[in-house]
């Protein structure tokens, strides 16, 4: 059955091609159904081999497809193990639901087939990334994912904000990709191959701590770009300019987890680099904290969810940083369900409110949209960490494993706990402002429940949101065992006894409840409380982090970041120089001045360079 696994990639890819070329002829709903069908079939193909892992009957396998660049050990081959099986299930499963949802949501969009082509392309790229058996192929998936995400974010490219957001995502990811690329170079220089099996089996013998640290930190730069970690997260909130199902699929459930997945895949290397582990954990915790603080004050419903995604990604990275890979991946799984649900619910609300995204103009939607209200209610409780919803179990496990490391990790645990409080607070704020209280709608808005193609995915996801936690309770660690073959040779954090776990769990639950109650009391009144004062304002402005890192990180100087953005900007092409900022612009312009158009100066260049060449040769050749 594993032999047909390549179809999981091929089907969505074929769908993308067909929709791209014949989409217009296929017509409006049909092209959407086609795309959905292909992804659903992909999912169905992957189900039986996955069940093999659950029952314990299957083995980790490498499926060789064809030679690509044999010289560097980069073949088209698939690695099928529990980790990739899980990711395949999430990507194709959630992906299929979101396709279904989009059929209704994108209804009457002018470029309907194009949208589904991109969506299919994204699924195919993601599957290449997930199933890759070597770093080179993974990189290809990585790049394709970036490309399709860029296409989808700026899908409504006539909206300037969408075009700009696409650009920003592209640029920031480019920084991450650079880290990844250099990591690939170092890996190849060290191991002479890109193949996972070879690398992971030989790594403990070959790798020195220094090289391992270098590789893993560079990989983490890549992961931070894709998984929106501090400071590279700044693209994600802007990416909400894309259609809402895209936000749900890409920027909540799947693509942003690619970084987490990549670190989990490279767990063997991270185990050899304890320093990197600390860095990863600290960055994760800080990301969770900063993003949660920003999420507190946002009024745009999608922005709240975006920052909450970043915050939850921070949790995952924290988990992986402390060596709790299974816990990190577990949170990834549950988060995929409830965050996709939240986004789709938000999309349903926005759909109902005729495009209104400001929560201050919502309220009282409970009666009008009962299904959306119920399903989102479930997701709200899950993300807030309320027992026994899925979010409680996965978040708790990460916190517990962090606690178990002891020492300085107590601080990280405390941070995580505080973030849990904040999460409960801002999610309750979102929920209450949207669904409860008195309606604050604009005139002429008539909310209504969404069509069935949109509500069915909500219900399905709602079911998993409630139940997914059961697979990995401290009492019964089925999920962890399931993943064990993927983390062979990785030292697990020492297991905690149930009593301590119960205490930690109770603390987390109490904190969550405090957050919920506090927030409920604050926002459920007839009037919205005024959110002013320095803290709120700073938070609303994202603490200027975006601006700060935009200025200091993308390149030395904010103009450089804008420069890359603007080189992509069509408006600037006419006067190209206008868009190019920062040092590079000056360098390029200085160089362009050398390009005077004067023959004699060119001849001078040739003569001088030739003379220098002679001297260099004489020097290098030892004739001095």
């Amino acid at each position: 059955m594993v032999d047909f696994l390549w179809l999981v990639i091929a089907f969505p890819l074929a769908g993308a091609v067909v929709n791209l070329i014949f989409g217009r002829r296929i017509g409006q709903p049909a092209s959407g159904w086609l795309a959905f069908g292909l992804v659903a079939v992909s999912w169905a193909i992957a189900v039986p081999p996955t069940i093999g892992f659950i029952t314990g009957g299957a083995q980790t396998e490498t499926i060789f497809l064809f030679a690509w660049i044999p010289l560097v050990g980069a073949d088209a081959a698939l690695l099928w193990d529990p980790l990739s099986a899980l990711m395949t299930m999430i990507v194709t499963g959630v992906g299929a639901l979101i396709h279904l949802y989009s059929i209704g949501y994108m209804n009457r969009d002018e470029r309907y087939p194009r949208y589904f082509a991109f969506l299919n392309l994204f699924i195919a790229s993601m599957m290449i990334l997930v199933l890759a058996a070597n770093y080179a192929m993974m990189f290809i998936g990585w790049e394709l994912v970036g490309l399709s995400s860029y296409l989808l974010i700026s899908f409504w490219f006539t909206k300037p904000a969408a075009a700009a957001a696409g650009k920003k995502a592209f640029i920031v990811n480019r920084i991450g990709d650079w880290g990844y690329l250099v990591a690939l170079m170092v890996i190849f220089a060290t191991f002479g191959t890109f193949d996972f099996n070879t690398i992971f089996s030989t790594a403990p013998g070959v790798l020195t701590a220094g090289t391992a640290t270098a590789i893993t930190l560079l990989l983490f730069v890549g992961a931070a770009g894709k998984s929106a970690q501090l400071p590279l997260y700044i693209w994600l909130p802007d990416a909400m300019e894309g259609p809402t199902p895209v936000s749900a699929l890409i920027h909540a459930a799947t693509m942003v987890t690619a970084g987490v997945f990549m670190i989990a895949r490279s767990a063997v290397l991270f185990e050899l680099a304890p320093v990197s582990g600390v860095v990863v954990a600290v960055v994760g915790a800080m990301t969770a904290l900063v993003a949660a603080l920003i999420a507190l004050s946002q009024t745009d419903i999608k922005k709240v969810l975006a920052y909450s995604t970043i915050s939850q990604l921070g949790y995952m990275v924290l988990g992986i940083g402390v060596g709790a890979y299974a816990a990190g991946v577990f949170h990834l799984t549950t988060h995929a369900f409830f965050k996709a649900l939240l986004f789709l619910g938000a999309g349903s609300v926005i759909h109902a409110m005729a495009g209104e995204q400001d929560m201050r103009k919502m309220g009282g939607l409970r009666k009008k949209m009962p299904i959306t209200f119920l399903t989102m209610g479930v997701a709200w409780l899950a993300i807030s960490g309320v027992f026994p919803f899925s979010g409680f179990w996965s978040k708790d496990e990460i916190l517990a494993e962090t606690f178990a490391r002891g020492g300085g990790y107590y601080v990280l645990w405390a941070v995580g706990l505080f973030v849990a409080l904040l999460t409960a607070f801002y999610m309750t704020r979102l929920f209450v402002m949207t669904f409860l209280g008195a309606p604050r709608w604009d005139d002429g808005v008539h909310p209504h429940e969404s069509p069935r193609t949109m509500t069915i995915p909500l219900i399905v996801l709602g079911f998993f949101t409630v139940s997914a936690g059961i697979v990995n309770t401290p009492v019964r660690l089925a999920f962890k065992h399931f993943l064990e073959p993927s983390f062979e040779g990785v030292v697990h954090a020492k297991s905690l006894d149930l009593g301590l776990l119960a205490i930690l769990g109770t603390i987390a639950l109490i904190v969550a409840v405090i957050g919920i109650v506090w927030s409920w009391r604050k926002y459920s009144g007839a009037e919205l409380p005024a959110e002013d004062g320095r803290w709120w304002e700073r938070s609303r402005a994202a603490f200027g982090v975006d601006e700060f890192f935009g200025r200091s990180l993308v390149a030395p100087g904010a103009r450089a970041s804008r420069w890359v953005a603007d080189t992509m900007d069509l408006k600037v092409i006419d006067g190209a120089a206008h868009g190019i900022g920062g040092g590079v612009r000056r360098v390029s312009e200085g160089l362009a001045k050398l390009q005077t158009g004067q023959v004699r100066s060119y001849a001078g260049g040739v003569a001088v360079a030739g003379t220098i060449l002679i001297f260099v040769f004489l020097y290098v050749g030892g004739a001095f």
Binding site: W68, L144, L181, M185, I573, V606, I614
Partner: protein, 491 residues
């Protein structure tokens, strides 16, 4: 052996015959233009066939053959050599010539009667380019180089009465002659230092290095430096690149493709022949210099391409960067030759395709191609827009396109040769380079711009489709070509 008498020079003979026929027909026939296309097309394709036969002959004899006079295998001072490098160069150059010629057919139709000269010069230029690669004799290399270069000077200035075209021709001519003179002086110095003009054979440069221990190789080094300077100029590696953007921009769009692609292929084949084949014992001297030039080309080409507003200039600067990647392969010595071949032969078709699109959009006689004129190309002519986008992706080194495989191979061999810093710079340049390639792609798909439909001619559609197909094909299934280029080594 008897039937192989003319084989080593068959490529040149076929093309020169074709050129003569074209000129003859131009004088004699009534409506000659109809006959040039078949003559030149057949000549190019026949030259490719000759290349294939050469390839097979080399494979059969299991090595190279030297020739001085047809039919006579002469070991002392051979003038013609037939080996994997020259045979593969014949195949690639023949195809490049054919594709570029078909792509320039729009220009030929516009030129009127005078186009006979254009066709003949195209044929002779390709013959000269191959002559460079199929000889171990430095002077014959020089003659071949000049044959091709002089043709290109004329082609650059072919549009009479156009100031840009004239300017481009004069710049190319003055600077090209200067660099040729430097190249020639380099040969003279090498001749002085080693007493030999030929790489193989008796009393050859290779013999000299194996028999003589030179303690004070000052003149030899100076000669090498000047030869390198001349060749760097021809392949437009920084800092010898300044002519390229001006010349490409000014020259008629229909004629640039051959200039850009042919010179790169032949130039790098010659670099491999001379430096990897002849001066391999001096590799410790020239490889570091080449690496520095490679890095300089990548960085300069990329940064300059970022600010261009003209697609032809942009392509010229990106060509500088590509020269950098190509030079990065050669620093690895003989291991670098197969990657070099893979890279340059795929790149040649990408650049032909790109310039053919330019010729379609801005007209075959145009000088300059503002990027703004490509706005909404995908709407005006979906075929051209998409294919140009594919070619841009190919050049930028996106995975699944030929440029990616070429770059990976280049970085691998350079890394294995110990130039890790070069690899880091190269990847950085590649990543930055994406920006300007994607800018072009974004322009193609922008919604603004002319609404007027473009009706590309059948010939240009064919050429661009072929080039894009090669870009994709060798990006996805590179190994057949990789297997072939493994044999395309200098002796």
């Amino acid at each position: 052996m008897q039937n192989m008498a003319l084989l080593p020079v068959a490529f040149e003979v076929i093309l020169v015959t074709g050129a003569m026929l074209v000129l003859l027909v131009a004088v004699i026939a009534d409506k000659p233009r109809k006959m040039w296309a078949p003559i030149a097309g057949v000549a190019f394709l026949a030259s490719v066939v000759a290349g294939v036969f050469q390839w097979r002959a080399v494979a059969e004899t299991g090595g190279g053959l030297f020739f001085s006079t047809p039919g006579l295998v002469i070991v002392r001072s051979p003038m013609v050599v037939m080996d994997g490098l020259s045979a593969f160069a014949a195949i690639v150059l023949g195809l490049v010539g054919f594709v570029a010629f078909v792509g320039s057919w729009d220009l030929v139709t516009v030129l009127g009667k005078r186009s006979a000269e254009f066709v003949a010069l195209s044929l002779l230029a390709v013959a000269g380019l191959h002559m460079m690669t199929a000889t171990p004799n430095l002077i014959v290399i020089f003659i071949g180089l000049e044959t091709a270069s002089i043709c290109f000077y004329v082609l650059a200035g072919f549009i009479r009465g156009s100031k840009q075209s004239d300017e481009s021709a004069l710049k190319y001519f003055l600077l090209g002659s200067l660099s040729s003179a430097m190249f020639l002086y380099g040969i003279a110095l090498v001749f002085g230092a080693t007493g030999s003009l030929t790489i193989y054979g008796a009393n050859s440069i290779r013999d000299f290095f194996s028999l003589t221990l030179i303690t004070e190789p000052g003149i030899l080094l100076a000669g090498l430096a000047l030869m390198l300077a001349g060749l760097f100029f021809k392949v437009s590696a920084a800092p010898f690149h300044q002519w390229a953007p001006d010349v490409y921009q000014g020259a008629p769009s229909g004629a640039v493709a051959l200039m850009a692609a042919g010179v790169k292929v032949a130039g790098f084949a010659v670099l491999a022949r001379i430096f990897v084949g002849g001066f391999i014992s001096q590799i410790d001297t020239w490889a570091p210099v080449m690496a520095v030039i490679a890095a300089l080309s990548m960085v300069l080409g990329t940064t300059m391409a970022l600010v261009q507003t003209d697609l032809k200039r942009l392509l010229a600067y990106s060509g500088v960067a590509h020269s950098g990647y190509l030079l990065a392969t050669l620093v690895a010595g003989i291991d670098g030759v197969p990657p070099m071949w893979f890279y340059v032969s795929t790149y040649a078709f990408m650049i032909i395709g790109a310039f053919t699109v330019v010729s379609v959009v801005n007209g075959p006689t145009s000088s300059g191609a503002p990027i703004a004129s490509f706005k909404g190309l995908a709407k005006r002519s979906p075929a051209m827009g998409w294919l140009l986008a594919i070619i841009m992706f190919g050049m930028s080194g996106m995975p699944f396109f030929a440029g990616f495989v070429g770059k990976v191979l280049a970085f691998v061999v350079a890394g294995e040769a110990g130039y890790l810093w070069l690899v880091v710079i190269g990847t950085l340049a590649t990543v930055i380079g994406l920006a300007f390639y994607l800018r072009v792609v974004a322009t193609i798909f922008s919604s603004e711009g002319d609404e007027e439909k473009l009706e590309p001619s059948r010939s240009s559609r064919f050429v661009v489709a072929i080039c894009a197909a090669i870009t994709v094909l060798f990006g996805i299934v590179p190994w057949p070509l990789l297997d072939v280029v493994r044999e395309a080594l200098p002796l």
